[in-house]
């Protein structure tokens, strides 16, 4: 701003067209002054004119972007179009059809900004084709389609002309919108509501009848999950159409008719039934697409939103858990361009109902007798310690790949140091069907923390588990501790047979099922929504889970149960003290070279990719 030099033209230095004047001021003056602007300059070679606005030179590989008079140096290759750069710089450019995960379409016209011509210092001109001798007039640019000019750009996002243009766009978008916010499920998280508050007019000048269209079901009646479409709420931004074209590649939806009659449509007999369909509800900027699971029952502003990680598969999609009154109500994806971009699959999205299900283990049980969790844990610890005293190979543990690495660490320390046993194996769920989409993949490995288990227990943890099962089958074990906490876990027949031969089986599990029926001692486990901790996904990325609801096992999550067991076994305070997962992780970071210097805070909301491909196991 300061280094800029202007010959004599206008008084306000950096941004001449900032005031309300530019349309009138530039219109008559422009046609004769055409050679100054870039569009006509193309024919004979001319001496290059001095630009009115001189931008400071950017470092190599960067460009100068002057927004509202402030200069920024950005990397033009990082952004597809201008709006991405503006959002990253913190400018609030309203938009509907633009989504960072989709190709820009430019149909909603909400993201108008002014592009200033560097040569003339005035807004870029558009052609007024309606008038016969073509006139040029200052025309705002839609920033979602505007490519970045590496030679530098001057942008205004808040000038009077831009604000006025946004108001007109909002008025147009609301013409056929039914304004039924009180009964619309999207209210509270609706972009149309937000942008209308910020950029719209309070009243409409539209007197005529609204164009009413009937709602449609996008699902087959036999589908368990589905989406309903309110065609009248739709602003035809085509985000859903583009998502199904680009990301899922299934292309079920298309736009039918033209103008204000245009509506999202579906081919009869071809419902939206792909495994990414839930995302079109999230990206719908209005309440046109509503998931029928929660339809009519919720208000978005009551949800307590906790950023966490989806435990559905080894990808570890970043999600938000939305809870209300200690019930998890829904899971929605969270942006992480390194892991899941902006999406998540429907398997993960709908697989949370076990959290608040009736079959949850809520208290301890020893031989068909209900015990308080604390005493049951200590009793289990005592039995472990007794069996460990009797013989070196008396105790073993099977840890599931659904535990966090903190819980695995506590279990490992308990067994290695207090019980002097090295037999800890890693059990996991069987793979499910892999699914691949043009821009998304559902992994076959459905265990969220198998990589973490290998990091803690060593790469041979799963062979060790097989060995433990074989030992149990041979009758060598006295006590077997199974820390499962896996939902929908169906143990294999050989594991069940082996369990039958062990005198004392301690199972820490989520649901009352086959495993806990066979066990002598049952301790409550906790789901991903009830605990803090770290999952390591298939790519070795450490991501932090955060507690969305209170633990259901009388306030004890998996970590607390393990620490109480350790206390019963007489472990030193370093293991048995009831420390938070954050503190356990801080202490772990001193032991494992892969975690050196890390805490939950440094991992942050987006996790940490491994510096080298596979962090070696500690010790």
């Amino acid at each position: 701003m300061a280094d800029e030099k202007k010959p004599d033209a206008a008084a306000p230095a950096p941004k001449p067209p900032e005031g309300a004047k530019p349309p009138e001021a530039s219109k008559p003056a422009e046609p004769p002054k055409a050679p100054a602007g870039p569009p006509p300059a193309g024919g004979p070679p001319k001496p290059p004119a001095d630009p009115v606005i001189k931008l400071p030179k950017a470092p190599d590989g960067m460009m100068t972007l002057r927004v509202n008079g402030t200069d920024h140096f950005i990397n033009p290759k990082k952004y597809k179009t201008l709006i991405g750069a503006l959002h990253d710089l913190g400018y609030d450019v309203p938009h509907f059809c633009y989504h960072p995960g989709l190709e820009p379409d430019g149909n909603c016209r909400m993201c108008y900004v002014n592009t200033i011509d560097v040569m003339s210092g005035k807004p870029m001109l558009g052609l007024q084709l309606a008038r016969q001798p073509f006139e040029r007039y200052p025309k705002p640019t839609i920033s979602c389609k505007e490519p970045l000019n590496p030679r530098g750009m001057v942008i205004e996002t808040e000038s009077a002309a831009v604000l006025e243009a946004r108001k007109w766009v909002m008025e147009f978008l609301l013409i056929n919108h039914p304004l039924d916010c009180p009964v619309c499920d999207k209210a509270g998280e609706c972009m149309l509501q937000n942008n209308s508050y910020d950029h719209g007019k309070a009243d409409s000048r539209f007197q005529e009848a609204k164009n009413e269209k009937p709602p449609k079901d996008l699902y087959n009646p036999d589908q368990q999950h589905g989406i309903k479409l309110w065609t009248d709420r739709c602003i035809t931004c085509t985000r859903c159409v583009r998502f199904l074209d680009e990301v899922s590649g299934t292309s079920e939806l298309y736009v039918m008719n033209r103008g204000d009659r245009s509506e999202i449509c579906i081919a009869p007999g071809h419902p939206v039934d792909n495994e990414l369909q839930g995302n079109i509800v999230d990206i719908c900027p209005v309440g046109a697409l509503i998931d029928k699971d929660l339809m009519y029952t919720y208000r978005a502003w009551y949800f307590q939103r906790t950023p966490t990680v989806c435990p559905g598969c080894s990808t570890g999609c970043n999600i938000e858990a939305h809870a209300l009154k200690q019930y998890v109500r829904r899971l929605v994806p969270r942006e992480n361009t390194d892991v899941n971009n902006y999406w998540m699959c429907d398997r993960g999205r709908h697989d949370f109902h076990y959290i608040n299900a009736d079959q949850r283990v809520m208290q301890g049980r020893i031989k068909d007798e209900a015990w308080p969790v604390v005493s049951a844990c200590e009793e289990a610890g005592k039995r472990l310690a007794e069996a460990a005293k009797a013989g070196p190979m008396g105790v073993a543990a099977l840890a599931s790949a659904w535990l966090t690495i903190e819980e695995m660490h506590v279990l490992k320390t308990l067994f290695n140091e207090t019980l002097k046993s090295n037999s800890i194996g890693l059990i996991a769920q069987a793979d499910w069907k892999e699914a691949s989409f043009p821009k998304f993949k559902i992994e076959a490995d459905r265990n969220p923390n198998r990589a973490g288990g290998k990091l803690i227990f060593g790469a041979d943890a799963e062979e060790k588990a097989r060995q433990i099962v074989a030992d149990a089958h041979a009758g060598k074990l006295k006590v077997l501790y199974i820390a499962s906490s896996m939902p929908h876990f169906e143990p294999s027949a050989e594991l069940l047979e082996a369990i039958a031969k062990v005198p004392t089986v301690i199972v820490q599990d989520l649901q009352r099922g086959t495993l806990s029926q066979k066990a002598g001692i049952v301790l409550p486990g906790s789901s991903f929504a009830e605990k803090d901790g770290v999952f390591v996904n298939a790519a070795g990325r450490m991501q932090v889970l955060r507690r969305a609801i209170d633990p259901l096992g009388q306030g004890n999550d998996d970590l607390a149960v393990l620490q109480r067991v350790a206390k019963g076994a007489g472990a030193p305070e370093a293991v048995s003290k009831l420390l938070s997962a954050r503190e356990v992780f801080r202490r772990m970071a001193e032991k494992y070279p892969g975690l050196a210097g890390q805490t939950h805070l440094t991992l942050g909301k987006k996790g940490l990719a491994p510096a080298q491909p596979a962090p070696a196991a500690g010790e």
Partner: protein, 214 residues
């Protein structure tokens, strides 16, 4: 003190003529009163006071019994003015359904957070809307009777009556559920009225419209 005042008034004769000089003995210092032996008996004063009491026994009474037996006499029974904010009620539409569409606006506006709603899709035969409250509870012990719920309601389904005198001997009885709130509206005879904004809250009392009022 009196002397000082007199000296002042003498010094500024023109300005202080309005205030007359204070007579001697007008201010009695405390402890300066010696009661006579008649006064020390207190009997005359007691007789005076009792006389006042007994004359009021034969005056007309202005108080009202709280049992409500006298409510037919509008002079005796307190009828709140229009705009009084008493207990809530829910209205019904012409089909006899609850008017509420479970939009949660009242619960969102409520500063005491005493409104608890659970929404649900309507039964299949309700054609006019999509959602209704499966559960609607107002905890009147938490309620501060501010009337924001009534202001917030987009379909004019909840309103405050002028009923102020409903007591309960159980805390639970003051948590009104949906049926109770609907029943209150019927009891007041105003559940069907469409835009009856501030009705009288006397059970069975047909609210009269004041000419030119409100």
């Amino acid at each position: 003190m009196a002397g000082g005042h007199g000296h002042d008034s003498h010094g500024h004769a023109e300005t202080a003529t309005a205030t007359p000089p204070i007579p001697e003995g007008a201010f009695l210092a405390p402890g300066n009163t010696e009661m006579t032996w008649v006064e020390k008996l207190y009997l005359p004063e007691i007789m005076k006071g009792l006389g006042n009491t007994f004359t009021h026994l034969f005056h007309k009474t202005f108080t009202v019994d709280y049992d409500g037996t006298q409510r037919d006499d509008p002079r005796k029974f307190h009828i709140p003015r229009e705009g009084y904010r008493g207990e809530h009620y829910l209205k019904k539409d012409e089909a006899g359904h609850v008017k509420c569409v479970a939009c949660f606006m009242c619960a969102a506006a409520c500063p005491a957070e005493c409104i608890h709603i659970e929404a649900e899709a309507v039964p299949a035969d309700w054609q006019d809307r999509e959602r209704y409250p499966k559960r609607f509870e107002i905890d009147l012990l938490r309620c501060i009777y501010c009337g924001m719920c009534e202001e917030a309601c987009p379909v004019d389904a909840i309103a405050l009556s002028t009923t102020y005198n409903v007591v309960a001997d159980q805390r639970e009885a003051k948590v009104y559920n949906r049926e109770k709130l609907l029943h209150r509206g019927e009891e007041l005879g105003i559940s069907l009225t469409k835009h009856h904004y501030r009705p009288d809250g006397i059970p069975g009392h047909v609210p009269e419209k004041k000419a030119g009022g409100h």
